[in-house]
């Protein structure tokens, strides 16, 4: 059936709606592009035949053109939504992506991520003139200044704002400035303990 491969890509997006990024379907994309090329060639053949006087080919051309546009739309939707997902990850994980996520991205997507990183950093630095503002901090409205956290993984030494050095060992508990450890919580090193 026409445009079936493209639909498959869209289904893949639908299935991964929970926020995970499935592997980039290079094969699928290539097949869609191949189908488009074949459709286009057929169309050109038919158009030149029509020009030479043959009749009755016109509706076929139109159908193929519709299929071409549908393929294009599905393919772009696939790429766009993946970028959207990747963009979200910049806000979740910070500027360095975990290996398993990167593994699922194609090379151009990795490049795009790098670009996005850069422009976001440039933007955040330029806010308000001096020093800028890190927008990836303060994601939740602050309730208290200090929070209790538990370490989920060994992280090593951590220097707090007032110069104390603490060791973040697995399963140890600390009472820290929220603004200092927010990014560690998002990375999954610490866990906010709610009583």
């Amino acid at each position: 059936m026409l445009a079936e491969k493209a639909l498959e890509l869209i289904r893949e997006l639908q299935r991964s709606k929970d926020g995970s990024l499935p592997p980039y379907n290079e094969d699928g994309v290539r097949q869609v592009l191949e189908e488009m090329r074949a459709l286009f060639e057929q169309n050109q053949k038919d158009v030149s035949a029509t020009v030479e006087g043959e009749k009755g080919l016109f509706s076929g051309v139109q159908l193929r053109h519709a299929a071409l546009e549908r393929n294009k739309r599905c393919l772009l939707a696939y790429l766009y939504n993946r970028l959207e997902e990747i963009r979200k990850m910049r806000w979740e994980f910070g500027s360095v992506l975990p290996g398993e996520v990167k593994y699922n991205m194609c090379e151009q997507e990795v490049q795009w991520f790098g670009k996005y990183n850069k422009m976001l950093a440039t933007y955040m630095r330029s806010i308000g003139g001096v020093g800028g503002l890190d927008l990836t901090q303060d994601m939740k409205p602050p309730k208290t200044l200090y929070i209790e956290v538990r370490c989920l993984a060994d992280h090593g030494e951590f220097e707090t704002q007032d110069g104390n050095i603490i060791v973040l060992k697995k399963n140890s508990q600390h009472f820290l400035l929220r603004s200092e450890c927010e990014h560690l919580i998002r990375q999954g090193v610490l866990e906010h303990m709610v009583h």
Partner: protein, 220 residues
Amino acid sequence: MSELEEFGDESSEEVEVLTAAEVLSKLEQAWADEKFAPDLLEAKTDLVECMLEQINEMEENIQRAKRGDFKVSLHRMEIDRIRYLLSSYLRCRLMKIEKHTTHILEQEQMRKEEENSRLSPEEYTFAKEYQASMEGHFKNIALRHMPPNLQSLDPKQTAVRPNLDSYVFLRVAEDTQGVLVEEETVDTGEEIVDLEKGDQHIMRYRPVVPLVASGAVTLI
């Protein structure tokens, strides 16, 4: 904005606190409006910059304060709150810019000389770059492999546009007479409402766009 300048010149403690609070409440309003409006509102660059300066000043003051002073933690908390407000406001704008990049840049291009830009210069740079990177990505992977007549991106078809017909909650801050809510159609007559100060409504966003911009109504 006159009170901002006034605030910059004032050195007496009392006036400073008062005007800073005013800036803060304006910023809070801008933040709420931005959060609930479906499209991008005008950038409140002055407010943001003023507040950022304020934060930096407060932090410097804290550095000078004694350790373990109770007031320090109160101030810290306040700084944290303001910083959250600022980040959330700018983040919210950034999300809209990323979502409606093409639409916003189109608007920016059609903007007349005397109108204010909705984007701050920094946001404009960001929007431009963002659009370029997206289009570059699509071209690289897909478009350039497509048949020649399909290689272009038509903004009419691909641009994501804000839905101005979505409904918003609003509170009226200034009396406004005769707001045309519904154009006259074949079936129904036109619908006009008078907004009185303090009223709360649920309305389509489109008719109140200019009122939100002027501050006559606030979104809640």
